[in-house]
Subunit: 197 residues, 2 copies
Amino acid sequence: MVTAVETRRQIVDAADSLFYAQGFAQTSFADIAAAVKISRGNFYYHFKTKDEILDAVIDKRLSDRRKLLAKWDETADGARKRIECFVRIVIVNQAKIMAYGCPVGTLTTELAKVDHPSSERANEIMVLFGNWLEQQFLELGCGENSRDNALHVLGWSQGVATLAQAFKDKAYVEREVSKILTWLDCIQAGTDQNRSQ
Amino acid sequence: MVTAVETRRQIVDAADSLFYAQGFAQTSFADIAAAVKISRGNFYYHFKTKDEILDAVIDKRLSDRRKLLAKWDETADGARKRIECFVRIVIVNQAKIMAYGCPVGTLTTELAKVDHPSSERANEIMVLFGNWLEQQFLELGCGENSRDNALHVLGWSQGVATLAQAFKDKAYVEREVSKILTWLDCIQAGTDQNRSQ
DNA sequence: GACGAAATTGGACAATCGTCCTAATTCATG
DNA sequence: CATGAATTAGGACGATTGTCCAATTTCGTC
């Protein structure tokens, strides 16, 4: 049975991948149609405009990231380990990052450049990570420095992704992960006096 | 007198700005023509293809950056102050970075995504900064850590630019500059025993 | 001032873009 | 099996893209 919901989901999935791999502007209706094996005209039934697809993709990404963070909240015990989960994405997703960069950063950058109406909405994914990281640093006892530390780690991830894509250097990514984890230890030692290490 | 060289220079200048503000793919011949106040057809006389304009823009950017680095090599005394010059670009060019991101990072990202033939050439601007920074760290006495430190600062700049564009937060940029300068002091103190501070 | 090269113009071109509409098909329900 | 709604297919549309060419204008040189 072919429902509209299922087809719509396939379109959004394909658009998500293609927007990531090629960029939003470079991806045409024909590209997505070919990926889903559906006629171009069929799009209009599910989405009135290309921007509507973009909004759906952003919604999906927001949902996916929320689920990922919730999983980390459950499985990893302690804020320190949860931050480490975030940091290690650049290693887990290394191959894709080297090919296409960071899915979040590259989209926000592209949309901000052309002042796209959905630019702010795309930024919310960045905000989501920022707030989650801030929460972790608060639990770590960083107090008013939590926001700064959160943005520091978030910015770090964007920088690593950009250079990873440019230089395709696995060792660099791993070194940077080590560096930020060491920094994390310093932060922890400096703010939490109850810990010996 | 209207020479071909002068017109060509105007085209490259306009393309440089537009590629930065809108992205390479989003910028059409018509856009550049309107900026230079020249007929669209005239382009073919100066450039056979759009990719040729891109190559010329990359050459210009490479040349501009080389001049900038040479200026820093002359004016700023000591590697520490030269690195600080690099770091402070994110403050000097704050307005443009918040609007369009980093000119180097956004271009390399865009070209790498679509596997553009000039992608590698665009990366050379990133390499240029990387090698220059490495040289500064060598002079600072970082030895074999110089390359790592250079990529660390380069990645830092990319991360700051990405988040600056997303959040448009001046205070964040300034805090990050302070943080990286503090880090720089630690590096210096750790590698150079002759200094008391 | 006339000549030829240099430089510019405006438009033709095929392809592709996002958008939109109509006809055909699929499918659940009676 | 018949009916009507849901879903899909295929193509038309105007606009825009990069490319290319022929005709025109500009300009230095004799």
